[in-house]
Structures are given as structure tokens and as C-alpha cells.
Subunit: 700 residues, 2 copies
Amino acid sequence: MADRAPLDKLLRPRSIAVVGASEQMNYGGRMMNNLITHGYAGSLYPINPKRDAIFGRKAYSTLLDVPDEIDLAVVIVKAELVEAILRECEEKRVGAVLIISAGFREQGTEEGILREHMVKAWSERTGIPVCGPNCLGVANSAIRMWANSASSLGDGPLPTGSVGLISHSGATAFGPLLNRSKDHGLGYRYIVTTGNEAALRMTDVADYMLDDPDIKALCLFIEGIKDGQAFIRLADKALRLGKPLIALKIGESEIGRMAAASHTASMTGNQEVFAALCRQKGVLLAKDYDECIQLAMCCQYGKPLMGDKIVVLSHSGGIGGFVGDKLGMHGLQVPPLARRTTDTIGQVAQGLASVRNPLDLSGTMQTEQLLDIVRVLDEQEEADAYVFATHGKSPLINRLHQIDKMTAKPVYLLWTSSQEDPLLQEVRNHGIPLFFLPDKLAATLSHLQQFRQRTRQGSEEITPHLAEEPPSGIPLDAAAAVTLNEHEGKRLLGAWGIATPDRWYFSREEAIREKVKQIDFAQAPFVAKIVSSTITHKSDHGGVLLGVSQPEEVIQFFQAHAQQEEVEGILLEAMVKDKIELILGSTNDPQFGPVVMVGLGGIYTELFKLVTWRIAPLSKREALRMLEEIPGLLPYLQGFRNMPKRDVDSLIETISTFSQWVYRERDRIESVEINPLAVLLEGRGTMALDCVIQRKLPLT
Amino acid sequence: MADRAPLDKLLRPRSIAVVGASEQMNYGGRMMNNLITHGYAGSLYPINPKRDAIFGRKAYSTLLDVPDEIDLAVVIVKAELVEAILRECEEKRVGAVLIISAGFREQGTEEGILREHMVKAWSERTGIPVCGPNCLGVANSAIRMWANSASSLGDGPLPTGSVGLISHSGATAFGPLLNRSKDHGLGYRYIVTTGNEAALRMTDVADYMLDDPDIKALCLFIEGIKDGQAFIRLADKALRLGKPLIALKIGESEIGRMAAASHTASMTGNQEVFAALCRQKGVLLAKDYDECIQLAMCCQYGKPLMGDKIVVLSHSGGIGGFVGDKLGMHGLQVPPLARRTTDTIGQVAQGLASVRNPLDLSGTMQTEQLLDIVRVLDEQEEADAYVFATHGKSPLINRLHQIDKMTAKPVYLLWTSSQEDPLLQEVRNHGIPLFFLPDKLAATLSHLQQFRQRTRQGSEEITPHLAEEPPSGIPLDAAAAVTLNEHEGKRLLGAWGIATPDRWYFSREEAIREKVKQIDFAQAPFVAKIVSSTITHKSDHGGVLLGVSQPEEVIQFFQAHAQQEEVEGILLEAMVKDKIELILGSTNDPQFGPVVMVGLGGIYTELFKLVTWRIAPLSKREALRMLEEIPGLLPYLQGFRNMPKRDVDSLIETISTFSQWVYRERDRIESVEINPLAVLLEGRGTMALDCVIQRKLPLT
């Protein structure tokens, strides 16, 4: 589906047929109207057996009657007629199909689901890409092709630009995301609404757009991700190309998840997993429409933000201070200016209220001196970017345009007057990124800065730590229990290179007295534990005995428990001291595959949620980033106050190894929980003290 | 200063003299222009010795020449002339003074500071209120008095309303907060910029406005709070009256703090303390300009939000779902509709995409049926509020107006098209709260809901737990050390009703062997600790011995440590088992007085920051709210998994008692840290296991 030519037919068609064209302002009429009003220059063929002409264009009874090749067939007929139209499309050998019609999987009926399967199968068989069904259409602003049934496009000119927009929701793309983009001077080069994604998916379209040299960033409105691995590949590609994916995602709360599930029948993933993926792969997760648009605008603008040092220039100390405050809260720098800079600015603009960053320029903000001040700042290399926080009249806006041309640094305008000021059109004409709220400005710059850092780190080589061949003799795909008991689990971990304590296992049938004799009790104290694949919280069942130092204690413990039905044996282990206990786990996410979780162990995991996630596999650098993400964890491991240092290097390697293992075994392992994972003193490694491993059940 | 009449002269003057009036567009000219253009109907006297008339009004050489009483004298002259003008004000017996002039404390010069002291002293001596200096002026929109030097008011009509705005920053008040308020249909009844607050403070003005029956809420742009106790009283009053204080505060990051300090020379408080105060007193802390304005708009609107159940109606599943998602993330409910409701709506509007909440009404959103649908929802009492997320034309907006009149529930509009749509003026005319971003809508409704819950709880009676008389014999104001040692500290805690373990103290001079004989070692194990007012981290110095069970161990420990210079004695204490360790502390904030901190003890306090704050004193209910605020803490105390329940009731009482104590002793105690505070098993209370108390040093 990532083949270029077929999507060219969808997004750069030389001819379009609209099956179900109309002059009424229904979906078919709006499609025609939008194509004509906005000046589509290719051939346009309305298909409607009941009319001779539609909006002055000759109408044809069927696709087959059109005396021309058809690149794009738009289908806007009742759902039950779609199959017949597709047959005509095949016969006519159209280049691509866009199905606006609803009445498919989103209905929740068996009929609708079958219809959707039909569309999918048809596209696979014919190799003709299908966008939709149940979508609102597409656009390519560069060729003025607005092939969509949106009711809110208006008649005015629609700007083009260098950002692509792909959305599961048509009303969101052609509603707030398009209309607000005009408020900010952003233009979308392409808009594609993918609807139910019977065949063509958001990831396919995004992949196509990323290859376009004119595209600088993509906006994605996501209701649910169907192919997590494709999304991961897409994010990796975007990062490699330095073209941000800017995501708005529905399903952050239970409510949103339900709504998304109902209306495009998508499965929305666990938001924590998605947020982790975004951090991991540099996807910019926007909080709201405006953040998405402003991020896109900054990418379209063309001057990238190359650092975190911001100089704020304002006519007011209160406004500049508030902006500086928000920048600081979002992790950016508003650094003090060098003495030489402040002296020079002081000479250039006498009587300034405050020659410090944020600069309170008072009335000087509206004078020619503003250029001189920026020139000084530029010469002294004080900033990676300038934020002008002010209102004004045309002279100020022209001056900002001059400044923008003069300096290589990005210039951002925070407009402090009405959002409806007609002057703003001038700002938009100059293409300077426009903001209205200090907090949103700061959030946007922070996102850009994070993306830059992420791209600078380059591609993440994952050093293989795993044995080439999986170890043999481990009861994973045998007729073993769904949950491996601790003894089996630790054998498996050990075989894959994750350290476990020295231990002795006594199955319930064994002659305990004989075996205990072979143990060197000089290694004591030991811990004795019951082994069971059904009892997971052993302590709660009295199944753990600490500080064992005599053979007789082991025998007594064995005799007390080995009779129990659920107990398969007992384990005697060397007790591990001087440790910090973490949790290291994985679950197999239906969309993204194995997801790795790291956090503080014990009650702190569940109660205080000091944990974080990543998609497997992980590089060591990414493992370190996980540790950095949990506030306080790294200082704790590195020796807080007079505490000793722990083996952080080994921990990082353990996490990376673990992630590679669960990734490689993703078809056989459902979940793993190593809890606790002991992080030992520096140089002594890590050790899995307990674990619960669940096999993946084959689909029946 | 909270006397009503003088502020009437500032905000409802029948006559205004402008000293330094001008026809040039400087501060004096803009003041005149704003007063005249916006139609101030009282008497207006320009004072300028060089001119006969200004903007057609007869000018006078001095205030004393004006043949009329002057309610408000506006002073816009060079700073060095202000003193002479104030003398004239006194002689003329003006009602109030507004000083626009800069050149006072904000300059940072001794001269400026002295000048500011002069203004303050003059106001105190004469009893005449002074607003400013270094402010931009005031407004009372109801009488069209725009007595300010703002350059951005424009010529158009300025709406009035039922919200007061008080700001330390003039450019913020008359800039974004005024101009954006028009974008949302909000009107400010009063605007006061207080500048340097030489005399009149934000809290004085706010107190005056709260008494006005026309005022429904106050917006405060705060650069720094000068009198914390006055702010606390103000917040209490606002809560009692059910009129929210909506705060925007600068100084959330170090950068903002520095900027605020530089330009109005304010001390900005610790943001964590201020945020805690807001939670405690129901102050709504807005994140940005728009949140402040939208909260104010919802208050002006007049229909309060009486619950958290929201029904969302939209033309799009994607948009409605996104809105529902954000509402859910902000803690609001988007509940499923009752079967009877969905059935009835299904009959009313056939062919709906989804009769569930959020309602995806598709094209029905633009029809008359919308009224019928809301009527059904209203009859079935499905919602506490309706959110309409859509765009549209005049008919939709008229219909929303009809719906707003029809239902007693609040109606909110999330506009999904351009923010510059001229249709929005119709929405504003109807007074329906208008939003543009789902996340901001949700944040606003969440704030309103929190305020409602806070006011419903009513006034917080603090049950006195303290002894009437402070205990005698405790070395607090004696010639004791600045830091009380553990022995003294525990005596003090015990005297005020905070439990401590059984213990024996041996000063370094004592005959240890004799005293130890009197101890019943059946109570062992004990812990032995060195006592020192200089060594605070005893364990780090080997000064703690756990599990002491023999007299000889005590004697050895004593002998090993009692010779050390810094050791004053040793303490033998009963060891406390079965506990959860918290931290309970207080510091004396320069603005708000004693601030109480509660959190998880040990390393968790410093590393993981599982702590929260409140201003003392606290009711028991507020103490409980502190515990609720730390995620996971209450479940942990109440018996997570198979852990035993702890004495939460006693903990709450301890926190409240502690808060009353540090409040009462605020002039003598600088800080207290009880770490750990042991929370024992249910019914067994709490116990301070260690403490560091610092006396407050008298100002020299």
C-alpha cells in the first residue's frame, strides 16, 4: 500500500468522477461544489443517471460511460450500492477510490461489517487503493483539489503550505483543524480523512506524505491505531527525516475511549502506552487543536528552533514576566544577558525600564529602535529565538517582518490584543508563527526543543545482548501451565541472561532431608519460599520464610507446605542484601506489542505509580531515559545522601536485554513481572528476586 | 483602608482632575482621551499651567484653582513633582488620588524608595487613599469612567459586566485581559491597576469590590502578594459570598519570580505555597489569560454549574468524543443516558448516528429538532450542563439562545470553526459562555465544579485541640539554642498534645549507671540516640543504636558518645513497631505565616516529593484533604492489600493540632520537622519519633 503511484491517483488525480453527484447540498452536492468552487483544474465527471448535467458539467449515467481515464472515483451512494459501483470501478480501471458513504462497520451491524470486509477484499484483490468508507474526503491544496463533502470550507481562498493533515474524523479535519489553521496562517498541503480505514490506513497515507520533499510536518488526528507496528515504523521514519509527527489523540480518558469505539469502531490503545511511545519516538502529542496547529505552523515557518535560550521582548514587565515564567515552567531558558549586551542596548535605547531578559521595552517596542536592539542581541548571540510579546499597529508588524528577515533565529509573536484584530492578517501574510497565550507558546517551543534533541540523538542502535538461539529445555511452549511458577520462570530468565539468586529447588515429591545435606549453610541466611503457579502473592499465604540458617528450618518449612494442593515445591535462595528494589515488567499490547514497564518496586508501584513505559525493544540509551523519567529514581540509585551507589549500568543493560527478550518471544509470552528486581551495589549487577511469567495462549 | 467611602471616590468619582493633562498622546493625553472618548459623564478638570484648554476643556494651573470639589485627582507628573502635588491634594481635600507617574520603588534607587515611603506616609496621615504609583489607572464601566492611560482601549464601546479586575500589571489588565474579554463577551465592571501599591493594595480593592452586590467574581493578576494574611481573609470572604477569586499569578518559575521582582519590586511567594492556598481556600488558579476570562465569563453568565454530569451534543463523533475525552481527563462525568432517554431521542430524531453521550447529532445539530432533544434530556434530568460543540450559522445560534432560555441548566458553546467568525458576535450578544478549545472548556468546568464543592462545604470550623495556656518550663524563648535538641523538642511537642515515645534522657554529666538501673528492660528493645542541637542527621554520625535490650549496651553507647563536644546527652526510647512513617513539618512563610507540610517520610519526601502543603491553621477536614491530595497515601494508610489499617483519625487530629500550635506560636517558632511521624495501628494514635524545632530569631 506504500507504493507511491496509487496514492498519486488519490492525491494528484488528473480526472475525478463523482458517483452520486448532485446539485442539492447533500454529500454529493457539497463534493461537486467544493471541487468547482475551489478551482480543481483537472477533468471532473459527475455520475448521476437521473441528470444530464450537474453544476453545468455533463453528467454520465455510469462510470463506464465516461470517455476518459479516471484517476479518482469518488463514491457517494447508499451503502448497499457500493459493491456494484466498485465492480464498475474495476471494469473502468480507475486509479483510486474514495468512499464517502457511511453504513459500514461503524453501524455495528453484521451487514455493515460484511460490507466493510467486501471493500477491504476488493482493494486487496484489485490493488486499487480505497480511502474510507465513512470519511469526508481529501484535499491537495497545491492543485486546488478539494475533493471532500465538508460543509464548512467557505468560498474564500484556501491557503496551501507544507504540512500534511490526516484524520480519522472528517469533521475535525475540515472543521477546527482547517478553520483554525487559517487563523494562524498555516496551510495544509494535503488533507486526508481516512474514516473506517477498510483498506488504506493513516499510516499508509502518512508514509506517502513523508516522502514528499515539500512536506515539513504531519498533523494526525487519531481515534485509534490499527497497526501499532506500522505506526512505530512511521514514527522512526519521521524522526530520521526530521519531519515531526504532531498527534492529537482521542481516548485519553475512559469516556473518549468509549466515544471513539462507538463511532469509528476503533480500538483505542492504553493512553499511557501511547504517551510513552510518543516520548520514545519523538512524536509530538498535542493537547488541543491550537497546539497542533501552532506546532505545525512553526514547522512550516522554516526556521527551526536550535536551542532553548529565549529572549523575550515586550512593552510590559507584567506581560514579559508572565511569558518568561511560562517558558521557565516548560523547561526553556530565559537567560540573563551579558553585561556588554545590556550596556549596548542601554545606549541604543535610553531610558528603558529594564535591560534584562525578559526585556521590558515599554514604548520603545513601537519604535525603529527595536531593530537596533535585536541587532545587538543577534551580534552577541544571546538567543536561540526571539519572542515578541505585544500588540501594535502596522509599523510594528512591518518591523517584525524586517527583523525576521534580518536574523537567522526564529521569531515568534505572542499577540496580546484581541484575537479578532484585522491587523493579524498582516502577521499571517509574513508567515511569522503567531500565538495568543503565553502557556501555549511555551508548550509549543518546549515540544520543538524536545523534537530537536530527539533527532540529534540520531538513530538508536540496539546492541544485541541476547543469545542468538533461544535456550532449550525451558517449558514455555510445552504443555506447561499458563503461568510459569517461580522456579520455571527464574530458569527462563537465567537462560536469557537475567541474573537470579543462587537457589535450590525441592519438588513436593523429593526426599528433602537428603538434599538439604548438600547445601552449604555457611551461605546463610536463606529465604525459603513456596513455589506455585497459582499462588502469586506468596507472602499473603505465609509462603515466605526469611532468615533461614539451619537445615531443620528448611525441612520444617517444606513439611508445612508441601502437602498443599497448589504448592509444587519449595525454593531455598540466598538472601540478597544492600539492594534497591524495582519492578521490571512487560505486557503484550494488542496494538504495539510488548510494552516494558520500569518503576519503584513493592507498594510504590501500585500505590504511588512511580513507573514508566516503553515499547520493546529498547536501546540502552532509551533504558536510561526511562530511569530519568521517574522523578527521584536516578538520584536514589546513584547514592542519595550517604546511601551507596547502585549498579545503574547493569540495570540499564538488564532493561535493554529484557526488552529484547520479550520482543523476540512476543508470540509466546503474554506478560512478565520481575518484582522485585534488586539493583545491587555498584559493580555487582542486578538480580531478579521473584517473577511471574505468563505464556501467550494460542488463538483458538 | 477597607472603608467604603474613600474607594467610592476612586471608583465612582463625580469629578476628576488630571494633573499633567495633555493633548499629546503621552500618559497625560491618553488619560484625557480615554475619559472623554468613552463618555465619562462627571466633571473633568485638566490641570496644566501651560495651557488654557485641553481637548476643549478649560485647563487650570493648579488643583487649587478648580472651582469645584474634586473626588479623584489623577497625578501624571514627573516623580520629583509628586510630593508638591500631594500637598495640593491635601489642601484641596480631594477624595482619592491616582498616581500614574513612575520613578518610585521600581527604579531600585534610594531616591525612588524614599519617594514611595513619602506617598505611603502621606496617605496614612491624611486618610486619603492613593492608588499607584507606577500604575496605568482604573475604570468603572457602568459609569463609563475610563480613567487610565492605556494606549489600546480603542474607540469602540466597552461593555460593562459583573466581574471586577484588579492587576499589578497595567499593560496586562488593559491589554490581553481587557481585549480578550471582548472576544468572549465578558465585561468588567471595574478595572483597577494597583502598580507599586505604596498605599492601596490589591486586597483592599478586592475587598471593596466583593461587597458590591453587582459583582459575581474577581479576576486578579498577581505579581506578588504583600500581605498574606489579608489575602487569606479575602479568600475566606470570597468563599463565604460564593464569589470566586480567579487568579493569574506570575512567579511560578524562577524566571518569572526574577522578572516580577525587577519590575514592581514585589516579593513573589513560593509557588507551591500559593497553589496550596488556592486549593485550601477555593481560589481558582488560572493557567493563562483565556482560562481567567472564560472562568469569569461563566460567573457573569449567571447559571452556576451545579454538578459534574455533562451532556455533550455535537455534529461529529470525532469532535464530541474529543470533548468528552477532555472532560473525563479533568474529572467531570459524561454519563451514559438512560434507556428511556435514548429511546425518546431516537424517536424525536430518527437516523441519528449515535444516541449516546457524547451525542453525535450529525446534520440534526442544525435543525429545529435540537430543541426537542434538549427538552427530552431536560425532562429526564440527564445533565447538570450542556456543551454544544459545533459551528453553524445564525439559525443554530438563535436556537442555542432559545435553548438557553428554555433550560435552567447552564449551556456552554464550544465553537469549532474560525475564532474570527463574525457570527461569534451573536453568541456574545446572547451571553452564552464561549469556548474554542476542548481542553480549556474542560479545565474551566472542572474549576467551577471545584469551587462549588468548596463553597458547599461551608465555613471550616477549626475545633480547638490546644491547651488554652502554653505549657510552662519549655525552653523556647529562653536563652536556648536556635535549634532545640530532640529532648527539648519532644518535651515541647508532648506539652502541646503531640504524642512521643516513652523515653529516658541522660545528660552528658549524669551518673548513667545509677539511672539505668531504674529502667525496666522488659520494655526492650529500645533505641539509643545521641542528643545534639547541632547534629541533625544523627544516623549519618553513628549516633543511633537500634535494638538495645541490655543495660550494658546503653552504658557503652553513652560512654562512646558523651565525651563529644556537640553531644548534649543521650536518649533511650521505646522502639515503635507496626507503623507507617510520614513527615509533618512547618515553615514560617514570609507572606502567609506558618505553612504545614505532610508527606511520606524518609527518602520519599526528598526524592519523590510525595508531599503537600497548607496554610495554618487547619480544620480536621482540611487535614483529610491534604492526605487525599497525595496519590496513594490514603489507601496505604487504610490498609492496602493485606496491610493493617492505621490510625487515620488520630493522624488527622495530629495534623490539625500541629497546625494550630505552629500558628499560635508563629512569633516564636521558625520551623518544625517531625520526621518520622509514626502512624500506628488503628486506635493506637500517632507518635513523633524525631523532631527538629527551630526558634524564630527576633529581628535585630
